[in-house]
């Protein structure tokens, strides 16, 4: 049995270390000779052979196979074979051992504490004597930090109210993704379309869901806020965290009355017949409604921009 109880003390000279005794040495050799675990030995052989085969398989597969599966399997066999081989090898050597080593104390002694404090105090008195210099050094660091504010600020522009306006303006046409305007008389009921302001297809803050619902379903305030002939338009950006509210559903149980807009991200539900007020999920605010009008050619236009910021709000936009 080997016992190394030399506490890991750097003061212990190398020569004074308990030698790797003959006894330890004979332990290893005896283990290797007497206690041959043949199964582990064979397992190691098989594993290394598999590893060799795996690497070759990978190389061949790279050149001959269309897909990468065989390449990967070959590499996996090579790596896994080496790993399994090493573990089996160590099993075969029966390296399980129980060596006792002493822990050295980690806590400082009162003497060490006192030494430390004294040393710090010496420094403090030496350096701290010139109060003016200490104060100026502190001031320099603060000013240095201030000096770096500029470059950090360059990372992004200062907000200048971009969030207060979108691409919607009086008389601007609603166009679908392929650029076509929407005819007032065209809509099929209960079908959702994503529209943008004419000329701004893809502009993030101006994405809008457009729906035509049977007019009798719409609440009064929905009509007041700019529904037109059953057409309603809402900002498509979820007021919860900003995903696109892309799902429109007709409730199976009450197909005549219940219409829902659902955000796929956290399952907020909005009621498009009543100003897109939130009726389920984590959203707290309704989707801003776009007031609709019609131009001389009979296409849907916006009457004006949204009357509040779209999407998730900042703390002072409440």
């Amino acid at each position: 049995m080997t016992q190394f109880d030399d506490a890991e003390d750097d003061a212990t000279p190398v020569t004074a270390q308990r030698p790797v005794s003959d006894e330890a040495r004979s332990e290893w050799s005896s283990v290797a000779h007497e206690d041959m675990n043949l199964r582990a030995y064979r397992a190691a052989i098989v594993a290394f052979v598999v590893a060799v085969g795996g690497g070759l398989l990978a190389a061949i597969a790279y050149w001959t196979s269309e897909t990468e599966t065989l390449l990967g399997v070959g590499l996996a066999l090579a790596l896994g074979g080496i790993g399994f081989g090493l573990v089996s090898w160590s099993k075969y050597l029966d390296l399980d051992e129980h060596v006792v080593q002493q822990r050295e104390p980690l806590r400082t002694t009162p003497q060490q504490d006192a030494d430390f404090e004294e040393q710090v105090e010496v420094g403090r008195q030496t350096v701290g004597r010139r109060k003016l210099l200490v104060g100026l050094l502190g001031g320099s660091f603060v000013s240095l930090a201030i000096g770096f504010v500029g470059p950090v600020g360059s990372l992004g522009p200062r907000p200048r109210g971009e969030r207060d306006s979108t691409g919607w303006a009086p008389g601007r046409r609603l166009v679908t993704l392929d650029g076509s305007p929407v005819d007032l008389s065209s809509g099929i009921f209960d079908q959702l379309a994503t529209v943008f302001p004419d000329g701004m297809i893809g502009r993030d803050d101006s994405q809008v869901v457009l729906l035509r619902l049977r007019p009798e379903l719409l609440s009064e305030r929905t009509i007041d806020d700019g529904a037109l002939d059953g057409w309603v338009a809402y900002s498509k950006i979820c007021t919860h965290a900003g995903c696109s509210v892309g799902l429109f559903g007709v409730d199976d149980r009450e197909p005549d009355v219940v219409r829902q807009l659902v955000c796929p991200c956290h399952q907020s539900v909005f009621d498009p017949t009543d100003g897109a007020r939130p009726v389920g999920g984590p959203a707290t605010r309704s989707l801003p409604q776009l007031s609709l009008g019609v131009d001389d050619e009979g296409f849907l236009v916006s009457n004006h921009d949204f009357d509040r910021p779209v999407g998730p709000i900042t703390w002072d936009e409440g």
Partner: protein, 533 residues
Amino acid sequence: MSVFDRFSRGDTDDAGEVTKRRGLVERYVDSVTSRTGGGSFVTKSLRKVFPSHFSFLWGELALYSLIVLFLTGTYLTLFFEGSQEVVTYTGSHEPLQGQEVSAAFDSVMRISFEVKGGLLIRQMHHWSALLFVGAIALHMARVFFTGAFRRPRDLNWIVGLTLLLLALAAGFTGYSLPDDLLSGTGLRITNGIILAIPFIGERLAYLIFGGEWPGTDIIGRLYPVHILLIPAAIVAVLSIHLALVWRQKHTQFRGPGRTEQNVVGERVWPAFAMKSIGLLFLTAGVLTAMGAIFEINPVWLYGPYDTAAATSFAQPDWYIGFLEGSVRLFPPWEFRAGGFVINTLVFSGILIPGIVFGGLFLAPTIERRLTGDTADHHLLDRPRDAPNRTAAGAASIAFVAVLFLGGAQDVVASTLDFSVGHVTTVLQFAMILAPPIVFVITKRTCVELRDRTGPERTERRVPVERTADGGYHIPDDQLEDWMLAGGAAPGHFDEMADHSTVRGKHAHRDESDPVHADEEALDEMRDDAGADR
């Protein structure tokens, strides 16, 4: 001649003359140590003792998946392009041909379809990331439930938690790089959460994203963060973590001969090293197999990010699941006063994760306050030995598990054919009720297990010799090893042994002072066997 023999040859005598011819390895090592004075350190390191237990492997597993991450990640950087410049996809994946995509997405498509071996490496990278965080979580659970986080290792607990945060950040930034629909949606939600922060939210969001969402900067910014800043921080903090393990030595479970003052186990060289390097290759092998066989993050199915689109069943990588759940389950509450608003995202996206991580950081302090135990601990508890701690840990896991389910509440609902609203409500209640229930049940179970006395069986091969009178005898040089492995004291042994594999009981433990009892048993045994060296 044994391995060991060869490596211990070639000592220098007092005059510094090499007395025997030395091997290549020794000569190279010596050429460094004799210039740095590191000789004794190296030797001590090789002899350093590590206790072995399967649960001590999780940390190693995390380390090895990190190595795979570094290697595969470096390969990916050779092809990836961190840019949101718009290009037209012209690669070989037909469904997307002609679509406008970002250069980042385009390069990930190229890695997946054009670079031979690229998809394999990419999938390995992703699987390694999932395993990396998983291994960290298991490692942390082991440290918690065995009380290894107590003084003096409360320091390393904090270092470890920093590593967990870095790992999550690495995962999230990496996951966001391909600029596909799923990860772009995740970034957008992040933008929403940042906007909600009181006072500085809007400015901060503008700084990070380079202006209003979506901007054209974010992928290019995440890239150096993902491949340089975070990996460098991980390496730095990990070095501290491992140095502390080395310095403070590993904890060990209670057992014969194990005390607060010693550590019983295998030496680094060769026993520990051989198995551990084996584990490295096994881990790499399994990850390669997974990368080869199991598809992960098929961005070509999600398509490129498009600000006006979003998909259902959009679940992030598993380790973000609890955050996703918090955001989904938190009720629609917000507080308004004087034109200002504390948005629901402040609670669900910032406060709840803050509480989870705050609790983790404070765990050692809380336990110290509650138990008044300020002593150093090197012997581990079994989970049942500390019912309150174990129950608190289980309750916290229950809470996070409910959040995790909440992150996939739409999937749960459609699987069980319930409405999403109902599942959400049930989970909201579970969020509040599950922790106390789990606490009580766990505590009861622990107390019961702890009080149940029964033999603990261990098995260990030990060579026995037949004595002249027909009895059995363990050779002296094997006796101590046998005891340390949990073998019975010789007295019991005679009655029990009738074949070469002996099943033995732990020497009966005096619960009030187990360490001492075992020490005494060991001493006695040494005397008996005359094995005092």
